[in-house]
Amino acid sequence: MQTRFSFGGDEHIFAEVGEAMSLEAFFKSLFITNAVRDAKIKGVTEICPANASYQVKFDPDQIKPDDLLTELKRLDSASEKSEPVIKTRIIEIPVLYNDPWTHETLMRFRERHQDPNGTDLEYAARINGLDSVDAFIKAHSSAPWFVSMVGFVAGLPFLYQMVERKRQLQAPKYLRPRTDTPKLTVGHGGCFSCIYSVRGAGGYQMFGITPMPIYDPNQNISYLRDFMCLFRPGDIVKWKPIDRAAYDAAVADVDAGRFAPVIRDVSFSLTEFNRDVDAYNSKLDGVLHGR
């Protein structure tokens, strides 16, 4: 992979690691942005990894644009030699699939959808060659997902499914974006899932909702007191399908301040993962559940 660099005006350098999404491109962008952070380069003000690219914002009064570009190219070629291993976290996210709130919303915006006579889940199941919504939910929730980017709006994770490309679920965005999406909706567009951190506009297919807050600007939620956004690029997410009773119980726990998310530290090796995807994923599952 040859990284393509471009200046984004006089304050940004944009680096496209790969045109197409892949775990290799994501890993490289994560790796280099970590290296840039560790290098503590004077004049660098923002370091943003994305799915298959990254961006560095800088103050050209403190570092010459060409000098920073040279430094980034040096870090880029140095990264080729390093072992693709990261220390990260695996986080369990409970999901009520097929919930009444996203259902109400998707019915309200039906004329903007590819399939006005079905639901987003029915449509996604069909175009992915699965014979039922339940089969789709199983495909969505059985393997873990990488947080390959955090952004668009505050704290919103983009998630990339950790399976071979031929097994990856794909779905187009709505024909025209909605003006409303419930907060904490689990959505999907292209090959990415996401969790909407705030209520607002959106174009992703809507599959369900999580009771677990991921963004709290007031920092009242116990696990968001240290920082208001839960996710960091490189986190691993495992969806846990739950029913309505479990959803209501979780919401009550959140409100009462006693909801405890399942989060474990884990080390991830891309080489070992690629050797046997299913075996590696079940090992990750073991870490999550303390087995």
Partner: protein, 325 residues
């Protein structure tokens, strides 16, 4: 000391110079869209240049002072009135306890900056008092002002003087018709044909009604023609789609190749639309003062020209500081 909001205006928010450092998790810089005018308003009333002020768009609020204060309104020609008596923009004046600041109709520009000696003293969140409304973060309760709000005012660090003003040549407001916005081609520029690239810079665009703190949309130019390609995995099928990536501040995305959107201080931090280039930092303030329907031309510049423009903008700010020292 507090300022009571009697009428909020259209979308009045608390802003300072913004909140760098959190763009990688989707929290944008925020802060005044016209930073030069924001600094001028502060310096006029004796504040630090980056103190928190009110940014009012298209329409001013109505405010009551609970203590005496020095006030200044800069940026757009949004004429202030004190108890109904006209006051000058870009000039400091004294407001006495109980007096009411209101505004006449907007005459020019888009955003007025209202500074009060002592600064708007809302809590600092992640290093800034700026409002990021999309994330309900910072400012006054994370939102635009509403009638009945009471804004705390800090203790003035210096004794502000009334009757000071900023000369026209130090105001840094957009001049000329159409407004010229200098931009560096780049990012995904290679996705469009040479003819489309030339058209982008030679066409006259107009500010669309969808223009806010997140971004400014433009219409009226020719649609951009794309270089054909096989959609890369993860990008999406539309020729304007990319694998979701970071968006620079000032970057110019063109969904569907039709209407360019320039991202501003409350930018969405990333997404799946290609970008043809980036408006240079020196011209970002100007965008904040454009009304819908204003004609605009994008002017192609390279990095050297961008850095010269940057230096000249920073010297203008230096001269403003000296003039009001």
């Amino acid at each position: 000391m507090a300022v009571k909001v009697l009428k909020p205006g259209l979308a009045t928010t608390v802003q300072d110079l913004g909140r760098p450092g959190y763009y990688h998790i989707g929290i944008p810089l925020s802060g005044g869209m016209d930073r030069h005018a924001l600094a001028a308003a502060n310096l006029l009333v004796g504040n630090e240049a980056g103190a928190a002020v009110l940014e009012a768009v298209f329409m001013g609020p109505e405010l009551e002072f609970t203590e005496d204060a020095i006030v200044a309104v800069t940026g757009a020609e949004l004429p202030p009135k004190l108890d109904g008596e006209p006051r000058e923009t870009w000039t400091s004046f004294r407001a006495k306890r109980g007096q009411i600041l209101s505004f006449d109709f907007l005459k020019q520009g888009a955003r007025g900056y209202i500074a009060v000696s002592g600064g708007i003293d809302v809590p600092v969140v992640l290093g800034s008092r700026s409002t990021y409304a999309l994330g309900a973060l910072g400012g006054f309760k994370g939102r635009k002002l509403e009638a009945g709000d009471e804004l705390p005012i800090g203790r003035a660090v210096a004794t502000g003087k009334e009757g000071r003003s900023v000369a026209r040549e130090l105001r840094g407001q957009p001049a000329g018709m159409p407004t010229e916005l200098r931009a560096m081609p780049g990012l995904y520029w290679h996705r469009i044909t040479e003819a489309a690239g030339n058209g982008f810079f030679s066409d006259t665009w107009k500010v669309a009604p969808e223009a806010d703190r997140i971004g400014y949309r433009f219409k009226g130019g020719k649609p951009l023609e794309f270089v054909p390609r096989e959609p890369p995995f993860g990008a999406g099928s539309d020729p304007s789609n990319i694998t979701d990536a970071c968006y620079p501040y000032g970057s110019i995305q063109v969904p569907g190749g039709t209407e360019p959107i320039v991202l501003h201080r409350d930018a969405v931090s990333g997404g799946g639309y290609f970008m043809v280039g980036t408006v240079i930092a020196a011209d970002m303030d100007l965008i904040g003062q454009l009304q819908p329907n204003t004609p605009v031309k994008f002017v192609k510049v390279d990095m050297n020209q961008a850095l010269v423009a940057r230096k000249s903008r920073s010297e203008l700010l230096g001269r403003l500081h000296s003039a009001l020292a």
